[in-house]
């Protein structure tokens, strides 16, 4: 009994010693942390802060080239574009962000509507065809892509696929369809459908789609694509660049999924625009405007056009919007696409689409 007690005392002593060691380590860590904090704080005054919802690798490639060309440092904060949009709204006048770069127009339209974005310099806007810019000149279009059907030929023949988005509701596609209704890309299709066919038709279409996709409703386009590619489901609707990115990632040998366009001018055939803006609250207006100018310059646009992971390349697989820059992939040039004619303003912030999807029980 006594010996056990002694052993206890010894082990407690050890624990106390270890505790002291741990404490010292923590204090050191805290000190180091404080050091890092103040260091980044002091350098932050001379750099731009970019909130980016665009793909990380694309953003990094663009920023690296901009830093090299101008000597202006850019700190990137990457997250979901809608979260960032909310975050900027919550931060208000004290937002640390100077710039906001997104994959889709609705988050930008949201901030423009709240009066949080500065006007983009007219020279920058002039590089991009007007229909891809903010209707009020508060953000500039950088690149674009379109929605396509992604399908697995082992599960469904190309001839069996729907050619119109309205046919997605056909009962013969029950159990064959996958969708990601939370994604902004899907919202724009719903907005287009609503514009083309009206509210009642949209609701019944959404209801039928929900039933056709039961059990295959995912939260991201990436998941829809990989499920189709793995042969878990026959087809879905995603933006084309996801397919190209996947093929670059896993190699052509393991890419079983194929993509195809919908019929010309169908409401399911929508162009989504990626854009960028300067925040009104930014204290570095001139430098921030230079970044936008760089994005639409030939050099910036070439980075989007050239697939790769080296300097001056990106795995964007989007269409650069400035005239004169063309892509190798996607193969069909932007000018040859035949999308549904819907404007940026009509796409808006997507609130109507969200309300409809809620009513249909998809959200």
């Amino acid at each position: 009994m006594k010996r056990t007690a002694m052993r206890h005392a010894v082990s407690r002593h050890e624990i106390a010693r270890q505790g002291a060691g741990l404490l010292a380590a923590v204090l050191l860590a805290c000190a180091a942390l404080a050091g890092c904090g103040s260091a980044s704080g002091s350098s932050a005054s001379g750099t731009l802060t970019l909130y980016s919802g665009q793909h990380v690798q694309t953003t990094q490639s663009l920023v690296a080239a901009f830093e090299q060309q101008t000597g202006i440092k850019v700190a990137i904060r990457s997250a979901d574009e809608d979260t960032l949009s909310n975050q900027i709204a919550t931060e208000g006048a004290n937002s640390p962000a100077d710039l906001f770069y997104t994959e889709n127009s609705p988050p930008l339209q949201n901030l423009a509507g709240r009066g949080l974005l500065a006007k983009v310099s007219p020279a920058t806007l002039s590089h991009i065809p007007r229909q891809y810019n903010s209707p009020t000149g508060q953000w500039v279009g950088i690149s674009a892509r379109t929605s396509v059907i992604v399908y697995n030929p082992r599960l469904i023949a190309a001839g069996q696929l729907p050619t119109r988005i309205s046919q997605f509701a056909d009962p013969r596609y029950k159990g064959k369809l996958a969708i990601a209704p939370q994604e902004t890309d899907f919202q724009s299709v719903v907005t287009a459908y609503d514009r083309a066919y009206g509210r009642a038709a949209t609701l019944s279409w959404l209801g039928a789609i929900k039933s056709n996709a039961a059990g295959n409703i995912y939260s991201s386009n990436e998941t829809v694509l990989s499920e189709v590619n793995q042969g878990a489901i026959a087809f879905g609707l995603v933006n084309q660049y996801y397919w190209y990115r996947m093929r670059a990632e896993i190699g052509a040998g393991r890419t079983h999924a194929q993509i195809t366009h919908l019929a010309a001018h169908d409401p399911g055939y929508v162009i989504d625009v990626s854009g960028a803006a300067v925040l009104k609250s930014s204290k570095h207006q001139a430098e921030a405007q230079r970044f936008l100018a760089f994005l639409v310059s030939p050099k910036g646009q070439e980075i989007i056009a050239h697939p790769g992971t080296g300097p001056g390349e990106s795995l964007s697989f989007e269409y650069p919007l400035a005239s004169g820059v063309t892509t190798l992939a996607p193969e069909t040039p932007l000018s040859r696409l035949q999308p549904y004619p819907i404007t940026i303003g009509e796409l808006g912030t997507g609130t109507t689409a969200i309300a409809l999807m809620r009513q249909a029980g998809l959200l």
Binding site: A16, L33, Q60
Partner: protein, 525 residues
């Protein structure tokens, strides 16, 4: 022998003294923890009753409620069975390789839930929906039951079991009527943590394609640019967690298991498993393979499958991410362990409805999604500090400290319970100062429990994602955010090393935890 020393000195009047300072400090801590709730109320009232009612009354709410409730029930029940069973095997039987299992069984706690689901989902596409969610979450969180139950089984008085056996009660009946009854508090406490953690979980369900209230709250934050609406839904979540807390309180009842003898604890001899030993080993082995082996295997698999050789992570190196993650975790762990002390002292050493309520109220924060707490802090710094401190390391650490305070409290309460007030009084009566008593008696007895609390918080910080995304200083990546970014892009080959390192970093405190809980096992010889 200690007991004869202690008993006569137990001074009632001192105990009854109103612990004003303790109550004040605890109140302050509880108020800090209530900040997110205050934020929810401010934002929701801003949205207007009509809109909030419309949001809550839509058909999806019912579906989400059902999804959330059935998952919480299923996973909590499974965790209770698996956690208790494993703890009993390790602590009370002569299971071969006990000391190794004691460590391996805890490490799954170190694997972020979204890494576990990433492992399963990336290898097998059938893992999704309800079944997938039950599987993945059970494997990810059962240690929350295992840990407290193992601790309680070890410190339980073996005498009661011996008495039962000597009175002719069978082995099985003794297990159910005595052993389980002794561990009941620990089982319920573990289940409470599991249920609350499930309510707030996001990353895993997002990968599994399973919708719960929390995933919907994220959708609301993300889709409709409507913070008020997300907050309204979060209030429903708070309501659910109140139900869970109430339910646990009811189940716990007023009964308490007490050990009358103080001092050094007698250790019960391990129960010989006999021919059941190998099936038992097989069971524990299977659990470790599923919970630990699959995520690690998946990570290694993806590293070797890698497509693009170097989609550069850019500015942030792995070492940098490790350093930041560890520093944040250590700082938050320290703060929480210290902050939990007064609340635990109040809860264990004093009674009273207000104090009880105060302690319980701190648990609510555990069921709040990280993104809500992150937005709350962003809101308060914006409105009351002109944005100062926002997206700095100290605020992020405070955020972690708020989020994981209840986890620290569980450990610290156990620690304080091991250091009874009577020993303090003996020490004081022998002429030691209050500070010296704290240092030489209370802290020394409570040390291991405090270390456990620190480790639990550290682990949770390492695996935290959603609040981190909002509040981390720009340009800094933690292991979790970097992993998430690659995973989101389907860059599995790049994501996998971060998953492995996350497991490795968090395995250290898990090992400490496991060893701490295994301490007396070594004394058994």
């Amino acid at each position: 022998m200690t007991s004869t020393l202690v008993r006569p000195v137990t001074a009632r009047p001192r105990r009854a003294r109103r612990p004003a300072a303790l109550t004040a400090v605890s109140l302050l801590i509880a108020a800090l923890l209530a900040l997110p709730l205050v934020f929810l109320l401010i934002e929701t009232s801003g949205a207007g009753v009509h809109k909030v009612a419309g949001l809550i009354a839509r058909p999806l709410t019912g579906e989400l409620l059902w999804n959330t409730v059935q998952l919480t029930l299923a996973v909590t029940a499974l965790c209770a069975i698996i956690g208790t069973g494993a703890a009993w095997l390790v602590e009370r039987t002569n299971l071969p390789g006990r000391r190794i299992w004691a460590v391996l069984l805890v490490i799954p706690l170190a694997i972020p839930d979204f890494v576990v689901s990433f492992g399963w989902v990336s290898l097998w596409s059938w893992v999704h929906g309800f079944r997938g969610a039950v599987l993945v979450m059970t494997l990810a969180v059962y240690p929350l039951v295992y840990l407290p139950v193992a601790a309680s089984l070890r410190s339980a008085d073996p005498g009661q079991e011996e008495v039962a056996r000597s009175l002719g009660t069978g082995r099985v009946a003794t297990f159910f009527r005595i052993t389980l009854a002794q561990a009941r508090g620990a089982i319920l406490g573990g289940c409470l943590l599991v249920a609350l953690v499930l309510l707030a979980e996001y990353g895993a369900f997002e990968l599994l394609g399973y919708q719960t209230f929390t995933t919907e709250i994220f959708t609301e934050f993300n889709l409709s640019f409507s913070v008020p609406a997300a907050c309204a839904l979060s209030l429903v979540l708070v309501g659910l967690s109140l139900l869970v807390l109430g339910g646990e309180g009811l189940a716990r009842g007023r009964g308490r298991v007490v050990r009358t003898g103080g001092g050094t604890q007698r250790v019960s001899p391990p129960l010989p498993l006999g021919r059941a030993a190998w099936p038992a080993v097989a069971g524990v082995f299977a659990l470790v393979v599923l919970a630990l082996g699959v995520p690690i295997y998946a990570s290694i698999y993806w590293i070797f499958q890698g497509g693009i050789p170097s989609v550069t992570g850019g500015s942030v190196s792995m070492l940098d991410a490790i350093a930041h993650t560890a520093a944040y975790g250590a700082a938050a762990g320290l703060i929480d362990t210290l902050a939990a002390l007064p609340v635990a002292l109040l809860a264990i050493r004093h009674t009273g409805r207000v104090r009880h309520f105060l302690e319980r109220s701190t648990y609510l924060v555990l069921a709040m999604p990280g993104v809500v707490i992150g937005f709350a802090l962003a809101y308060f710094t914006e409105h009351y500090a002109a944005g100062h401190g926002y997206q700095t390391a100290p605020l992020l650490v405070i955020c972690y400290a708020i989020m994981f305070f209840p986890l620290a409290l569980v450990g610290v309460k156990a620690a304080v319970a091991r250091a009874p007030a009577s020993l303090d009084e003996v020490s004081r009566s022998l002429g030691l100062s209050r500070l010296a008593t704290l240092r030489r008696v209370t802290l020394r007895l409570a040390g291991p429990g405090l270390a456990a609390a620190f480790c639990l918080v550290f682990l949770s910080v390492v695996t935290e994602l959603t609040a981190t995304l909002l509040l981390v200083p720009t340009g800094v990546q933690t292991l979790a955010t970097q992993f998430w970014q690659y995973e989101r892009d389907n860059s599995y080959a790049q994501a996998a090393p971060f998953a492995l390192v996350m497991i490795a970093v968090a395995a250290v405190p898990s090992y400490v935890l496991g060893r701490f809980f295994d301490r007396s096992a070594s004394e058994r010889g």
